[in-house]
């Protein structure tokens, strides 16, 4: 072992010697698939694009207020159906071309163009109606209907009209996806093994770090060793088992990264015995969230500002839509659970529950990628239900299969699916719980369908004021906490690690690099 240690240390030194000159390198979970904002499909994609592009509006990480770096002033028009934007002057694209209202309208039209096969664009087709330029610096964007939060809805990244030769049919394999042109703090270029970002001067951006490199981190432990050797300066996501080791080091800092995400166990409400609300409630009581959190994520009991806080509904506790009247269930309550199960007509014989003579057996699935954040959560959940007297088989599901089967409502043969939802700017949960048939509910995993829920979601859609929207979602929260299409688990912060030479590195929720201008590195 001794000799190997030497090797590692030596490695660290060479690396330190090699990676100087203000250039910063960090490991992300994987390489981005694309740098074209319209085709972003993973958090990695979103993070890298945040450096290259300006979103029209974004939430400030300091005061959570809506801000824009490119819009100078704005006013609502047509009774709230449209918004008139006046752009800041002298903003330039990375290739030096001026940034104008034509670019805003081009982006809108590109998203509305059915020839642009982008899931993100599809999302905007329900929101936006069109865009008109009024001179070089004014654009008027019209909505499909009146929204209570119109500017929140304009969180898209602006694309350069000239880079697409004004052709609004934007296909993913255009070279733009690898060598994009934006107005963001950094110009990005995609290599086979990572992305190199280099600072670009602009009136609205002044990055203090001249160069930033993103590489794939591979094995989580390997990443930790690398940052300890100063072979790299940052890791986006540190796997729980290694967090203690990092926080023990003075030259390293663990930083909380709020992914605006909450975890759940979706229940197949179409399948017996889970079609019975009492059974679902019983399972909610059986689940010991405290134990899960402790064993899987490694949160010590009574640990303050833990990265993992329980939720009782489909929102994070910091969200305005979270209904604080609904209590969270932290510990299991077996008495209540068995009472409910007996009410539901299940019988417990020889320690196992059976319904209509047949022993109850659950097929559990979990999104594979979540295993690094919460190692073996699937096993622990399974064990808890097993201990309570249910048979179970567990499966890890690849991201591809998840997108292909689970999100499209084809996962009929599963009883439970452990997953998580992340939210960017708008916490719109409608497509998770809306009835699919209506064309909405595009991410309704087990095709959960309740008239009352649809009504509440509709109320939120129609809401013209924040309070109305809040009210609708509070009611939704309460209803779901009782009907339980999901067993709501927790909000889980990711932990990033950065060398302490990296200073004032504010990490924005979800988008990560929104405040990159303020980052400093004296390495």
């Amino acid at each position: 072992m001794g000799r190997r240690r030497h090797l590692l240390i030596a490695g660290g030194l060479t690396a330190a010697a090699l990676s100087t000159g203000g250039s910063l390198t960090y490991y992300d979970e994987t390489l981005p698939t694309t740098l074209n904002p319209l085709y972003a499909s993973s958090m990695v994609d979103f993070r890298s694009q945040e450096l290259i592009f300006d979103r029209l509006w974004f939430n400030s990480s300091i005061n959570n207020e809506l801000e824009s770096r490119v819009v100078d002033s704005w006013e609502m028009a047509d009774g709230g159906r449209a918004i008139r934007l006046t752009l800041k002057s002298s903003i330039k694209w990375h290739d030096g071309k001026p940034f104008t209202s034509k670019d805003i309208c081009f982006t809108v039209q590109a998203m509305l163009d059915p020839g642009t096969p982008s899931p993100i664009a599809e999302g905007y087709r329900d929101i936006l109606a069109g865009c008109k330029t009024e001179g070089n610096s004014v654009a008027k964007v019209t909505f499909k209907k009146v929204f209570h939060n119109p500017r929140q809805r304009l969180g898209f990244a602006v694309l350069p009209r000239h880079a697409f030769r004004n052709n609004t049919r934007i296909s993913p394999d255009l070279e733009f996806s690898a060598r994009p042109i934006g107005t963001g703090a950094m110009k990005g270029s995609r290599g086979t093994r990572g992305v190199v970002f280099s600072a670009v001067e602009n009136p609205h951006h002044r990055a203090k770090i001249p160069q930033l490199q993103m590489q794939e981190g591979n094995d989580p432990l390997l990443q930790v060793r690398a940052i300890m050797n100063n072979a790299v300066q940052g890791i986006i996501a540190v796997s729980p088992p290694y967090r203690a080791e990092i926080s023990a080091r003075d030259e390293l800092a663990l930083k909380s990264y709020d992914l605006r995400s909450w975890w759940f166990i979706a229940l197949n409400t179409a399948k017996a015995p889970l079609n019975n609300a009492k059974v679902r409630q019983a399972l909610d009581y059986i689940l010991d969230r405290n134990e899960l959190r402790e064993k899987s994520i490694g949160v010590k009991p009574g640990e303050r500002n833990s990265p993992c806080e329980f939720i009782s509904g489909p929102f994070v506790q910091s969200s305005p839509y979270y209904n604080r009247q609904v209590p969270t269930k932290d510990r299991s309550d077996m008495a209540k659970a068995s009472a409910l199960l007996t009410e539901a007509g299940l019988k417990k014989t020889g320690g196992t529950w059976s319904s209509r003579g047949a022993a109850v057996n659950f097929r559990l699935g979990m999104l594979k990628s979540m295993n690094t954040e919460a190692p073996d959560l699937l096993e622990y959940v399974g064990n808890q239900f097993g201990a309570a007297g249910f048979g179970r088989q567990s499966f890890k599901i690849s991201t591809d299969e998840w997108n292909r089967e689970m999100l499209t409502g084809k996962a009929k043969n599963y009883d439970m699916l452990i997953g998580k939802w992340s939210f960017g700017q708008v916490e719109d949960v409608n497509d998770l719980f809306n009835t699919r048939k209506t064309g909405k509910g595009t991410r309704n995993i087990f095709n959960y369908s309740r008239a009352d829920v649809d009504k509440l979601l509709d109320n939120y859609d129609r809401a013209k004021t924040d309070t109305a929207a809040k009210d609708a979602y509070h009611k939704l929260h309460a209803y779901l906490a009782d009907d339980l299409p999901y067993l709501f688990l927790w909000k889980l912060d990711t932990k990033s690690a950065w060398r302490t030479e990296v200073k004032s590195n504010t990490i924005s929720p979800y988008f990560y690099f929104t405040e990159f201008d303020s980052w400093k590195y004296d390495g």
């Binding site: 690396a15 086979t192 072979a231 300066q233």
Partner: protein, 311 residues
């Protein structure tokens, strides 16, 4: 020795056909499978814009049209852009970087094989060492490979993908490829047995009595057999290169093929598979040509007497 030219000609024929055949086979496989090609190549849920893709790849026109179109582009060096692995990056460019790396990797990994084989057939390497080579070869290449990769990542960190790092990756990769998966043991014993068998031939002993050397007599007669072995070994190495490049993150044909397969980037897979076909076609052609050369060399005679007359 009747029709001595037949076998080499077959080889060269196959070599010429291979780069055409491989994409053809893949194409027909796609159409043979149930479901429409576009969504096999890239399920809509994964890619987005499957119909766009169908147009782009001329998948609507049936296998023949697709194949001819693809070939026509390929000949002009146009392979389109990567769809899912490196979205928007021209595949031709990727092949441009991958091919030299893979070839270099293979050539480097042939060095230990050739050296040790030569040594063993010259009798400088005792057969008692064989078990050692076999034991080394027992450890799967992936294990060595990942250890090497980790060392590089820890040592180079930010600069893990610079030219220098790549050189080291290639060297380590070649080393691993050369010794692991029984490559070395196979090569050593294989060549040795060839030479030993030839040495036992009576004419060698007599040649020595004529003051000639052993090698000058045996080597020409073994050339084609050796070429055959060399090709087999190289193919084995190419096969292993897929794993090694993936693990050591070397931008080679194998690595792009692997990533393409994982991400279902069909364009990339088709291109890289064809790339492999070209490489092994080159090997085949080399073997064929060498066989022809040897046959002609064997037939060399000072008196102007044509082969047919003599045969």
């Amino acid at each position: 020795m009747k029709q001595w030219w037949l076998q080499p000609m077959v080889r060269i024929g196959v070599a010429l056909a291979l780069p055409l055949a491989v994409p053809l086979i893949i194409t027909y496989l796609i159409w043979a499978l149930p479901g429409d090609p576009a969504s096999i190549i890239c399920p809509p849920e994964l890619c987005g814009g499957t119909e766009e893709l169908a147009k782009r790849w001329n998948l609507d026109g049936g296998p023949y049209q697709f194949y001819t179109a693809w070939m026509a582009n390929a000949v002009t060096g146009e392979f389109g852009n990567s769809w899912r692995v490196l979205q928007g990056v021209p595949i031709a460019g990727l092949l441009g970087t991958a091919l030299p790396n893979t070839v270099m990797l293979i050539l480097l990994s042939l060095v230990p094989l050739v050296v040790f084989s030569a040594a063993s057939s010259a009798g400088w390497l005792s057969p008692r060492l064989d078990p050692l080579f076999q034991t080394i070869g027992l450890v799967p290449a992936v294990v060595y490979g990942l250890v090497a990769a980790a060392v590089i990542q820890l040592t180079f960190g930010a600069d893990a993908f610079t030219e220098d790092a790549l050189r080291i990756r290639l060297l380590l990769g070649a080393l691993v490829l050369g010794v692991a998966d029984g490559a070395l043991a196979g090569a050593v014993t294989g060549t040795r047995s060839l030479f030993d068998a030839e040495r036992k031939q009576r004419y060698v002993g007599v040649a020595i009595l004529r003051g000639e050397t052993e090698l000058s007599n045996t080597l020409p007669n073994l050339a084609s057999a050796l070429a055959g072995q060399l090709r087999a070994r190289t193919l084995h190495l190419l096969s292993g290169a897929v794993i090694i490049e993936a693990v050591l993150q070397i931008d080679g044909l194998g690595d792009f093929l692997w990533r393409g397969t994982l991400k279902q980037d069909f364009g990339l897979v088709l291109a890289t598979a064809t790339g492999f076909a070209v490489v092994s076609a080159a090997l085949l052609a080399f073997q064929g040509l060498l066989e022809i050369f040897v046959a002609l060399h064997v037939r060399r005679s000072p008196a102007q007497v044509s082969i047919e007359e003599a045969a």
